[in-house]
């Protein structure tokens, strides 16, 4: 059952270590001069932290060290070292890494998954952040009987994107996620291609964002969602015909109700050609669609795409206003196959802080609101809800599905897997100093395409494994059974006096 898609098998994990000289680690190991280079630590450590050295072992991979949690183990190097030469401490730089939503632990655990494809040791928190609400206060209620009868191999993580029952193709993706739009110009071509290639390998999709369809993407047409956004940049009949899914971007969560602005010096001749604009002159993507002032106008838009490409599914990306439930119903009746709800805590190259923090509601509220309303309207089974904007981990993904989404759309997590540290300076100077969101040639050269592709693949394979674990603990055979199951999750702030049967994870 795991593989409902003809001839598809998941790619393999290949180790893809940090592209910088030292990975950033939670723990820092020091070896004192007392070391006699006996090599015991090298032999003991199952995490392969040490490498042989001339004078003393080299601490080559201390990011793989599990830290103080290791003291329970027989092989704890600090205790076993005959010369007592090894010390493990916290890395002082860790303190200023990350933020409330992506604390240092979450960044590190994502890097761990991207490097190894494995779930990190629990000493590194990989499930929740430190935001104090929403996902970070929601837990799964795993039933007390620990041994579910369902074996991992029987569990399906596939979802169907066309649930409308119309004559257009069924599109099944083997994992309940696809990758969101990041335009050509906002990220490097290596980043863009890494995401597209990873999406193709995982049997899912990656969106182009607004800004055109570079020819490098064409070999992957079947795994591309092309975006039609308010500026209509790079939108051509030809590009709409190439793909299986076309996305209308009405709004985006990071700057809901605000337009986009591409600075003049980012409009290089290539970007300009793709967007049919003049090099060097700033481009405004307005808000809203100036051709849409009613749900009828919206239907006209959807019909236009359907007419242009008779096999395409139509996705509508909207933000999360007070009446987000009405917006979703409107999209459905206009003929959309997918409605993507983009919550307010998602990422983008640059947005006013005031918008990111204050405008529109978090996705954890919006999804259940929409799900319930569509159920009441009797149309929930006929449309796919995709959640985005603030989904950081496999646990977030599973929680939002339990809150009513069919699947998720991701962006920031991909960038973190490529060793983004969320310094929030995507736009400053020559662009991203780590070579992810930049068009600077030298900085773009910091990343290799094979490496980038593999890091993203590794991370999502690890996510899939966690999702299977969760489904298995809940006794579910398919991720589709998890949709809208408010009964299997609980919010820690609202547990008072309630009888929970099971383990909160």
């Amino acid at each position: 059952m795991a593989n409902e898609i003809h001839n598809f098998s998941f790619p393999e994990v290949k180790v893809a270590p940090s592209r910088f000289r030292h990975a950033l680690s939670k723990h820092r190991i020091t070896i004192s001069k007392a070391c006699t280079n006996c090599g015991l630590c090298i032999d003991l450590c199952p995490y392969h932290v040490y490498e042989r050295g001339k004078k003393h072992p080299k601490v080559a991979f201390d990011h793989l060290c599990i830290g103080f949690a290791c003291s329970r183990n027989d092989f704890f190097c600090v205790r076993r070292c005959p010369e007592k030469a090894i010390r493990v401490g916290l890395n002082p730089s860790f303190e200023i890494l990350g933020d409330k939503r992506w604390p240092a632990d979450l960044l590190s655990s994502t890097w761990h998954m991207a490097e190894t494809g494995n779930i990190p040791h629990p000493s590194l928190n990989y499930k929740i952040g430190d935001s104090g609400g929403g996902f970070d206060r929601i837990r799964f209620i795993f039933p007390p009987d620990r041994f579910s009868k369902i074996s991992r191999g029987e569990i399906s993580t596939a979802i169907e994107l066309n649930r409308s029952g119309d004559s257009r193709p069924r599109v099944t993706i083997p994992i309940p996620l696809y990758l969101g739009g990041m335009s050509f110009g906002s990220v490097s071509i290596v980043t863009m291609l890494s995401r597209v290639r990873a999406a193709a390998a995982l049997g899912t999709f990656c969106c182009t964002g607004e800004g055109g369809y570079p020819e490098e993407l064409m070999p992957y047409d079947d795994h591309i969602i092309t975006q039609v956004a308010t500026g209509l940049f790079g939108v051509r009949e030809e590009t709409i015909k190439r793909v299986r899914i076309v996305e209308f971007k009405y709004a985006q969560g990071a700057k809901p109700g605000l337009g986009g602005h591409l600075l003049g010096d980012k409009v290089t001749p290539r970007v300009a050609a793709m967007r049919e604009a003049v090099p060097g002159s700033a481009l405004f993507s307005p808000f809203p669609f100036h051709s849409v002032y009613s749900v009828e106008d919206h239907k006209k838009h959807v019909d236009w795409i359907k007419e242009t490409n008779p096999r395409a599914l139509v996705s509508v990306k909207v933000s999360t206003p007070t009446d987000v439930d009405m917006v979703a119903v409107g999209s459905y009746f206009a003929g959309a196959h997918i409605v993507q709800l983009d919550g307010s805590y998602g990422g983008t190259g640059a947005a006013p802080d005031i918008a990111k923090k204050n405008i529109a509601m978090p996705i954890e509220y919006a999804v259940p609101k929409v799900h319930r309303f569509l159920v009441e309207e009797g149309i929930r089974e006929n449309i796919t809800i995709i959640a985005s904007g603030g989904i950081r981990t496999a646990y977030d993904m599973a929680k939002i599905i339990a809150l009513g989404a069919d699947g998720v759309c991701l962006g920031t997590a991909d960038l973190v897997s490529l060793e983004c540290i969320r310094c929030h300076h995507c736009e400053s100077g020559r662009g991203c100093a780590r070579g992810i969101a930049t068009t600077d040639e030298e900085l773009t050269g910091l990343m290799d395409l094979e490496w980038g592709t593999q890091r993203i693949i590794n991370m999502y394979l690890a996510w899939r494994n966690q999702l299977i674990d969760i489904l298995s603990r809940l006794g579910m055979k398919s991720v589709k059974e998890l949709v809208g199951r408010f009964d299997v999750i609980a919010h820690l702030d609202h547990l008072k006096g309630r009888d929970i049967h099971g383990e909160l994870v």
Binding site: Y250, P288, Y293, S294, P321, T348, A360, P362, I421
Partner: protein
């Protein structure tokens, strides 16, 4: 169409080194003296810009470093670390957080709105103003102005009492006399400061900024400098001494006067009006649980503007105080229910620390608001409150050049004004007057939690 209100801003440098969040720590012991040090490769050229010798290892707190961690990860012997700046952590207090203070500094220095990449990194929600979100409009809305746009979003508000109807005599002549109204181009007035070092130069900075921006500052009669009196059109005189002791000519020149709330507030208002009928009087009251009943009485007795004051953390005066936004909601709704809300103008202040607080307090029912501490922070105040105990100000606020100070405040308000436009634009609202009391266009934490999260975990 009237000329668009726009605040021209230009960078105004700091007088003191900025307190940044983090610093670079480098050790010398173990340095391999690489032929090409990672410090040379800094993308932001931190080491070059600061004229640091890369061979010299030192701790540095700097504002050029962008926390990319390239040097931390690149140094072969891992001798470079990033560390939190301990002074940064101790800025302000739990309400006036280091993040808020440095954001205000940034705006006052640059005149720009804070923009960043890679999503929002803050908490899910928080106390006070952080427990609400504002609405956006997906498709059906007027086209937006935003900062660069085409159509005008007005931030003008009127201060004063409004007539609910006009009376005419048999010949069609209007017999009702409309009370005086004062119009300000943005819904912000500069309030009395809760504390400050000796304030002569500070007040002059605020005075100049109010003039440039076309708004008002509130000044105690006892603090008024003689030269300000001759140019009083942007001053709201706060009567902290008897009316009789104030120069009648000055009263005649003023457009607004503020008086403290007391039993005699309205008789005093009438006395002021007898001297200058075109002045608008503001009654200043401390926000507390009885505010709404007091305001309803004041409206009936003929009050024009009421100024509600919470404390510097936005709390009313009570045993279990409500936050300003929550009390404001209650007051607004009570007045609406009594059918008197439109007759009176409500100003409110206390704890207004960020641009979004303007929009949120207006949504909760204020017509306009007053700010205090941000004016000091614009001039590099660190909210250490040492001045309260008479200790010298670490950033010498008592010595600021009023031209510099006013330009810093202008920059801050330019940033705030643009951010207000962003919020209004996203909501599809064309003027800030229509934002007042629009609670249906906001989302409140407590409502959403109750509706969405409370029912979870129950087997149906």
């Amino acid at each position: 169409m009237p000329l668009k209100y726009h605040i021209y801003s230009a960078p105004v440098p700091n007088r003191f080194p900025k307190i940044t969040k983090s610093g670079v720590i480098a050790w010398e012991e173990g340095c391999l003296k690489c032929a090409r040090c990672v410090k040379k490769d800094c993308v932001y050229k931190v080491y070059e810009k600061r004229d640091l010798d890369e061979k010299q290892m030192l701790d540095s707190l700097d504002s050029v470093c962008m926390d990319c961690f390239r040097c931390v990860q690149g140094c072969p012997n891992r001798l470079i670390q990033k560390g939190m700046n301990p002074t940064y952590k101790t800025l302000g207090d739990r309400y006036w957080t280091p993040e808020i203070i440095s954001d205000l500094w940034f705006q006052a220095e640059t005149g720009r709105i804070p923009v960043s990449g890679a999503g929002y990194g803050g908490p899910f929600s928080g106390i006070g103003f952080d427990a609400m979100w504002t609405d956006m409009s997906e498709i059906v809305r007027p086209t937006r102005d935003g900062i660069h746009g085409r159509e005008y979003i007005s931030t003008t508000v009127d201060l004063g009492r409004k007539l609910m109807m006009l009376d005419f005599d048999a010949t069609g002549e209007m017999i009702s006399t409309p009370p005086p109204l004062v119009e300000i181009p943005l819904p912000v007035i500069f309030d009395l400061l809760p504390w400050s070092p000796p304030k002569e130069r500070i007040n002059r900075s605020i005075f100049k900024a109010a003039k440039v921006l076309g708004t008002f500052l509130i000044v105690r009669a006892s603090d008024l400098e003689p030269d300000m009196m001759s140019d009083a059109s942007n001053i709201i005189l706060y009567l902290d001494r008897p009316l009789e002791s104030i120069d009648k000519n000055l009263i005649g020149n003023l457009r607004m006067i503020e008086i403290p709330y007391s039993e005699d507030a309205l008789p005093l208002q009438r006395k002021i009006k007898a001297i200058n009928p075109s002045v608008v009087t503001v009654i200043r009251i401390t926000m507390d649980p009885s505010s709404s009943t007091r305001i309803i009485d004041l409206v009936k007795a003929g009050a024009e503007v009421v100024h509600l004051c919470a404390d510097e953390h936005g709390l009313e005066q009570a045993k279990e105080p409500l936050f300003i936004k929550d009390r404001m909601k209650e007051i607004h709704l009570q007045l609406v229910e009594k059918g008197v809300r439109d007759q009176i103008t409500l100003l409110a202040g206390g704890g207004i620390a960020m641009a979004e607080h303007m929009a949120k307090l207006i949504i909760c029912g204020a017509d306009a608001l007053t700010i205090d501490i941000p004016l000091l922070v614009a001039m590099e105040c660190r909210v250490c409150r040492r001045c309260k105990s008479g200790i010298e100000c670490p950033v010498e606020l008592d010595k600021v050049d009023p031209s510099w100070g006013s330009e810093r405040i202008r920059n801050l308000i330019a940033g705030w004004h643009n951010q207000l436009l962003e919020i209004l634009g996203a909501m599809g609202i064309r003027e800030v007057r229509r934002l007042r009391g629009e609670m249906g266009r906001a989302m409140f934490f407590e409502d959403l939690e109750r509706e969405i999260f409370a029912p979870m975990g129950k087997r149906s």
